[in-house]
Subunit: 296 residues, 2 copies
């Protein structure tokens, strides 16, 4: 089994191929296609699809085309949410991953449509994929739950409503669990399902995902509060400018760093539990992801 | 078999129940729920879900809960598209079905999210419904195709790009086929599939849908050009104000009326072909819909 950097290098082109092939083949309007492709090609860490594939590989399975398609569908959902989040009526961001945001290049109307298109495309890609029928329906169900009104969209609404308010830690955690946690949880669940794991293991992957998701968000808040624009490739200090509650804001910088560390420890403990159940489970790949969330 | 008004009266509450139950049960943010419910409850003709159910009934099947859920999912997609279409960056409409548009009541950010939520909810509702597995996957595939980058979203992009341009009749028909035709086609295909009809019949239902969809659009253009705001319950003369190509614009009022009549005749002829293949087919219900598209 390779290390995470090798794994990433091998997986990224295959995930990106599935996204680009779909958009090229299934978009019946050139300007719409360009707008969708622009944000898909704007890069990013591809954290969510890599999680799907890392989970599959952790159970010693070789990913198939349909596994990359699940990763691609998930990244399309994530990308649509960034396009809509950046709109003037939402977070009003000009810069994303070091490049002008979608609406700055294509205009607001096409940015809205590019988001709508990518969201719908994610379900179309899953529906036409070669995933076994029963798993396919389950994955569509889980993805729509994670991305929709019980997950990401609800979290985004809560996030907007939380501006200019002091939230409790519980409220903040609830918003993040929905806004960013739900898709990360889907990634781990999907990986476990596609690797044909029993419910007990899939459930533990969900627990791991929730620790990882929370850690991811705390780190994101910490970076927004402490980095420069060059380091992040996007505008910084946005949370403060928008008067948003954040972990560093509620816990202080040191408290937030401690909370991050705690989630990473819980994450590792959960991986060790999975290892106890499933002897074929290779812990190192996901553990490396935990390490990458440690502050440098 | 009842006539269309009876059919509508019986079906509407059941379609609306499925939409409202879903939103009530599966929306984890109150303000988001209110915004989604507002547009769902704003009424409208429920033309698309009624088409699904009328098709099922035309083959002498009694609709089940899952059939109403397919209708509900389709109407949620239609409703999301209206919310996003009305946004200031798109058509910038203040009035829809005689009421303030979603963003006028809930603000732009929540209107964008209400649309995203309804779109995602449509796929979630299909995924959790009791439809038989193989049909479910097929319906999700057809709905994502009709609503997405090969259908409605592409049509909406084409429509925006066509503003301030003189389009040919072919270009105009292509835009409408995607923007409004694709969902209408889905309605008929879904009805045929849910009524367990053979491919040959489902294909003819698709042909019928394309005539109906075109007729629907020509009539919509004619009403926008000739009605008052009170009659329509929405702003009129918008096409002209936005400098959009329309059927009356390209063909003149008389030409557009003739084109509408032609599509209705083709529609009836297609229904008669279906009757020749399938003796159990009850032509009158769908024929009444054709009649309702006739100009008064």
């Amino acid at each position: 089994m390779e290390d995470f950097n090798d794994f990433r290098k091998q997986s990224l082109p295959l995930i990106e191929k599935e996204m680009e092939d779909f958009i090229n083949e299934y978009t019946a309007n050139e300007q719409l296609k360009n707008a969708m492709m622009y944000s898909i090609r704007a890069g990013g860490k591809r954290f969510r699809p890599l999680l799907v594939l890392a989970t599959i590989c952790s159970f010693n399975k070789k990913p198939q085309v349909h596994d990359y398609q699940v990763g691609a569908a998930l990244e399309m959902i994530h990308t649509y949410s960034l396009i809509h989040d950046d709109l003037p009526a939402m977070d009003d961001d000009d810069l994303r991953r070091g490049k002008p945001t979608n609406h700055k290049v294509f205009g607001e109307a096409h940015a809205i449509l590019a988001g709508d298109g990518l969201l719908t495309a994610a379900f179309q890609l899953l529906a036409i994929s070669q995933i076994q029928q029963e798993q396919k329906v389950l994955l569509i169900q889980l993805l729509s739950k994670a991305a929709g009104t019980q997950g990401m969209v609800a979290g985004q609404a809560g996030d907007l409503q939380g501006e200019n308010q002091l939230l409790s830690l519980t409220e903040l955690a609830d918003i993040h669990e929905k806004k960013t946690g739900a898709l990360i949880e889907f990634a781990l669940l999907a990986g476990g399902i596609l690797a044909q794991q029993p419910d007990e293991v899939v459930d533990l992957l969900g627990v791991f995902a929730r620790h990882l998701g929370l850690a991811f968000q705390i780190k994101d808040d910490l970076l927004d509060a402490t980095s420069s624009e060059e380091e992040l490739g996007k505008q910084v200090g946005r949370d403060e400018a928008l008067n948003k509650s954040t972990y560093p804001g509620l816990l202080g910088l040191d408290g937030a760093k401690k909370a991050l560390e705690e989630q990473l420890i819980f994450g590792t403990q959960t991986l060790e539990k999975i290892k106890q159940i499933s002897s074929e489970f290779y812990i190192e790949l996901l553990q490396e992801l935990v390490e990458q969330l440690r502050l440098g």
